[in-house]
């Protein structure tokens, strides 16, 4: 008997990204990078990006962590590649609102809605947001403010 709640959390999409992460590894030529650590568990996510003219040309991630953090990082790189810095930040903020149970335009989230069930696991919200925090910090280092 698989518990329906865990089932909701560990959806096909999430486990797929966990098992076969997209865009994992270092990014040669990156001009924006940051690493974020979760002090309670030691998990770490690094994000490297090439930002040009307010646009995220390419982005990859490194590090280890639980399925939620890994899948979130993987999906994030898919979602923000080719987006403007401003759009990427807005998407991250929308995800934060979704997981905090605050009102949010669901359409803005697309595939990221797979993380919706994480909101019911307060201990895991930080895992899902960790890659986005790393991206945020990386973008701050790029010297390319949002347009």
């Amino acid at each position: 008997m698989i518990d329906p709640r865990s089932e909701a959390l560990y959806q096909e999409t999430i486990l797929d990204h966990y098992r076969r992460p997209r865009n994992k590894g270092e990014l040669p030529g990156a001009n924006a990078r940051a690493t974020v650590t979760n002090p309670t568990c030691g998990d770490e996510i690094g994000v490297e990006a090439i930002v040009e003219g307010g646009m995220i040309r390419d982005v990859r991630f490194t590090g280890q962590g639980c399925s939620i953090a890994q899948a979130s990082a993987s999906m994030m790189t898919d979602v923000v590649r080719g987006a403007t810095v401003g759009a990427a930040r807005r998407t991250g903020e929308a995800l934060r609102r979704l997981l905090a149970g605050e009102p949010v335009t669901r359409d803005a989230l697309g595939e990221l809605l797979a993380f919706e069930a994480v909101a019911r696991y307060p201990a895991r919200v930080g895992c899902a947001l960790m890659p986005w925090r790393a991206l945020d910090r990386a973008l701050q280092t790029s010297g390319n403010p949002a347009p």
Binding site: R5, S6, C41, G65, C66
Partner: protein, 404 residues
């Protein structure tokens, strides 16, 4: 036993396996604290009225009980602190700053909790001393030969845990203390956070200079712990925090210090939580510390066997007979966090993470482990729930792999 713990009695489906982080509290402990507040509460030491004398007596009685429990004959050498972390910081700051010089060496082990690692690391940095980390064997024990080889004329402090919180390894405290005494003239500091709750301590026979523990891990309340030390060292050591109760005379320019234990207890003491800790040691002595350890070892032996019987599960550390009630394990392909979430939905509380032992995790070459820790209120049904939860997690994760 469960019915003596209100939180467990109220949650029959709860399998609480995180007692190494903090224990649940028996009713007698909660009652003792409440009774203190409802009958005896006042500021001790300072009042000239009967209520304050009662509060003082409560506090002294708690000190006497806890000292006796830990095998310390001279109760004035027991300093009440907030917990292990504060006890160890007290020693590192008060003794360490006064005695460690550039070029000295401080030795800790690779299995120390951050509370018995970072204060020494930072003291070494501040003083220009050498900070050395004694290695562990492949099965998670202190490597005594290697430790012995590190000791020498410049060794000033040797710190190690009685029991590893991350693996459950019970260290041979007396043998380590003897080894240190043979080779050098160092302060020997034992982190007993996982010792005092789980096995007999016998401070006066251990041969260490300091021993620290926390009340909240041994059926006592949060906010109280102890530092046990040798009188000669405590008397020579400068105080740690300064304020009321710890002074003798405060002059405009100079101040003299009160006698032990007051010299190290600045400010209004935490009488209520000390009373709670006194009740907790009464409770534990009612069971007997040998019986506590035997109970935990029996459970952990079953847990080891059942977990090792599952595909892809590794239990870290030495054999169950050399551990207290801790089973630290990893499951291939499933991160400990994911495991903890899935177990939690089945009422099983375990801890996932580095267990405040990042240096150990690096040496075990894992980022994190899952840790189940057993205590007096656990039984085999908790082991069952743990094992079936792990199998469930494997089904969830493997099922998807198969479909993917």
């Amino acid at each position: 036993m469960r019915e003596r713990f209100p939180l467990l009695a109220a949650n029959p489906g709860l399998h609480y396996l995180d007692s190494a982080a903090t224990s649940q509290k028996p009713r007698v402990v909660l009652d003792a604290m409440r009774e203190y507040y409802e009958r005896d509460n006042a500021n001790p030491h300072r009042g000239a009225y009967a209520l304050s004398v009662r509060a003082t007596d409560c506090y002294h009685e708690a000190r006497a009980k806890v000292a006796k429990f830990a095998g310390l004959a001279d109760a004035d050498c027991l300093v009440f602190t907030r917990g292990t972390t504060e006890s160890l910081n007290l020693v590192a700051s008060a003794w360490g700053r006064a005695n460690v010089r550039a070029g000295d060496e401080i030795v800790v082990t690779a299995m120390d909790h951050h509370a018995n690692f970072v204060p020494w690391q930072q003291l070494a940095r501040e003083k220009g001393a050498l900070f050395r980390i004694a290695p562990i064997t492949h099965d998670g024990q202190v490597d005594l030969d290697a430790l012995g080889g590190m000791l020498g004329a410049r060794t000033r402090i040797v710190a190690f845990p009685h029991v590893s919180n991350a693996l459950g390894t019970v260290n041979p405290v007396r043998a380590i203390a003897t080894l240190v005494r043979e080779r050098c003239d160092a302060l020997v500091v034992c982190d007993g956070a996982q010792g005092a709750p789980h096995l007999p301590v016998g401070f006066d026979d251990l041969g260490v200079d300091f021993y620290a523990f926390s009340g909240h891990k041994m059926c006592g309340p949060m906010g109280i712990g102890a530092l046990l030390g040798r009188r000669a060292i405590l008397e020579r050591m400068p105080p740690y925090q300064m304020g009321g109760d710890m002074i003798e005379v405060v002059g405009d320019e100079e101040t003299t210090w009160n006698v032990l234990p007051h010299k190290f207890e600045a400010g209004t003491p935490n009488v209520a939580d000390a009373v709670g800790l006194g009740a907790a040691v009464d409770f534990l002595e009612g069971i007997g510390m040998d019986a506590v350890l035997a109970h935990e070892r029996a459970l952990v032996a079953v847990a080891d066997e059942r977990l090792r019987g599952l595909d892809g599960v590794t239990v870290h550390g030495p054999a169950a007979a050399m551990r207290s009630g801790v089973a630290s394990f990893t499951v291939a392909g499933i991160h400990p966090h994911d495991l903890a979430t899935i177990l939690d939905e089945r009422g099983v509380c375990i801890r996932a993470g580095h267990h405040c032992a990042q240096p150990l995790m690096r040496r075990l070459d894992v980022a994190a482990t899952a840790r189940a820790s057993f205590y007096v209120y656990n039984d085999e049904s908790d082991v069952e729930a743990l094992v079936s939860g792990v199998r469930e997690a494997q089904r969830i994760f493997d099922g998807h792999v198969a479909r993917g």
